[in-house]
Amino acid sequence: MRHDDICHIRDLGPNGHILSGGYAVKITVNVNGTAQTSDVEPRQLLVHYVRETLGLTGTNVGCDTSSCGACTLHVNGQSVKSCTMLAVQADGQNVTTIEGIAKGDELHPMQKAFMENHGLQCGYCTPGMVMAAIGILDENPKPTEDEVRVALEGNLCRCTGYHNIVKSVLACANG
């Protein structure tokens, strides 16, 4: 999107493009391999875009203050906290959410590792944990246990199942 496009849409005035408190801009985001075009308010957070505009509710909101990592997804292959990014910042980029990592019925190896190693209890932190963990192995394919613990510092598990989460990531790295 170029900003003249934004002005253009804005010039359309109240006919369907003015949302509460602001105006809409058109963005196109490649989400899990599919180009999605939507009108969004500039202030819409990426996590709300994914959950509410696209209906992909696998990505959770935990703290909403960039502390817990429940909202972690990938932008251009890197893990980010989607509660601290605007949807407009993802315009033209590739976004991968937890819904986009399995191949049909076949779970992603990290999902399988979490399942096999009891890496989840209530499951609330799990989508963010899995996305963060995939990012960790992308950058460091054979991490030590310490490296996994440090690299997961941005993800909290309120069920405190950290041992099995770390075990899952290591199992995936070595599997």
Partner: protein
């Protein structure tokens, strides 16, 4: 938590960003990685009328050798600073300090320019570049000018740039094999430092700066003078708070911060002395 409504423009070059902010006036702000600004906007502690997104000004994302210093583009993300082979070789203190910023997700988004422009005394990179004697290059409607790091930090979350200026480059002198140390004391993983120290030393030359020991990052010049004058590390460390003005908060009292600064400066000097 949703920010108050704002207008959004995306700039594709520094020139465009500067002309957009000049037109937009006081209430507009640059958006780089958004990892300081968006949390403030979500809490409605900031409500700019317009965001000028400079996150795609990719020609300001670089790390390169330039004679006696390394030039870093303002839009370079923490993760690139952390993993840069050029910085690991020539300015290992900065690469290491960047690896202590937040967590991997934060480092994938946050930029060195955003961190310095935000001028948070509690942030790691303002103090680290201050200790290293960095120069910040800013660009305005009439071109570029350089600001020495000690002249940049004007007050609490305040820098000395004009409203229509943008930080474009950080120039950090090569360390030429100097010893160094980065001490970050925090209670929880991912947190900002309660107190932090960035230090380097080569013989009687040294640079020491403090994180979260005042309303700006603090250059501990008295420590460097003491070392220059031949003081022992223990004696030099006693000068740690000479320039500081620590505040008490939920994490630490003024007394505790003062004690911590002296201990961490001593450790940092010990580690830097080889």
């Amino acid at each position: 938590m949703i920010p108050a409504a704002f207008d959004y423009k995306r700039a594709s070059s520094a020139e465009e960003a500067i002309s957009l902010i000049a037109q937009a006036g006081d209430e507009a702000k640059f958006l780089a990685g958004g990892h300081s600004l968006l949390p403030l906007m979500k809490l409605r502690l900031a409500a700019p009328s317009m965001l000028i997104d400079i996150g795609r000004v990719t020609d300001l994302s670089y790390i390169r050798e330039a004679g006696d210093h390394i030039a870093i583009g303002a839009l370079t993300r923490h993760t690139e600073v952390e993993n840069s082979a050029v910085l690991q070789q020539h300015v290992p203190l900065l690469a290491h300090a960047a690896s202590h910023v937040g967590d991997p997700q934060v480092r994938h988004r946050g930029t060195i320019g955003g961190s310095i422009a935000h001028a948070d005394a509690a942030s790691d990179l303002p103090a680290t570049t201050l200790a290293l004697g960095a120069t910040y290059v800013v660009q305005g409607p009439n071109g570029r000018r350089s600001i020495a790091a000690p002249d940049f930090y004007a007050g609490f979350l305040e820098n000395s740039m004009n409203a229509d200026e943008m930080l474009v480059e950080i120039q950090v002198p090569k360390m030429n094999g100097a010893g160094w140390s980065f001490q970050k004391f925090n209670r929880r993983a991912q947190d900002w430092a309660i107190v932090g120290v960035a230090a380097w030393r080569r013989g009687s030359d040294s640079g020491v700066a403090l994180v979260n020991m005042g309303s700006t990052p603090i250059l501990a010049s008295s420590v460097a003078s003491a070392i220059k004058g031949g003081a022992s590390i223990a004696d030099a460390a006693q000068q740690a708070v000479a320039e500081a003005d620590p505040q008490g908060d939920l994490n630490a009292s003024v007394e505790y911060r003062t004690h911590l600064a002296k201990v961490l400066v001593r450790r940092a000097l010990e580690e830097s002395t080889k």
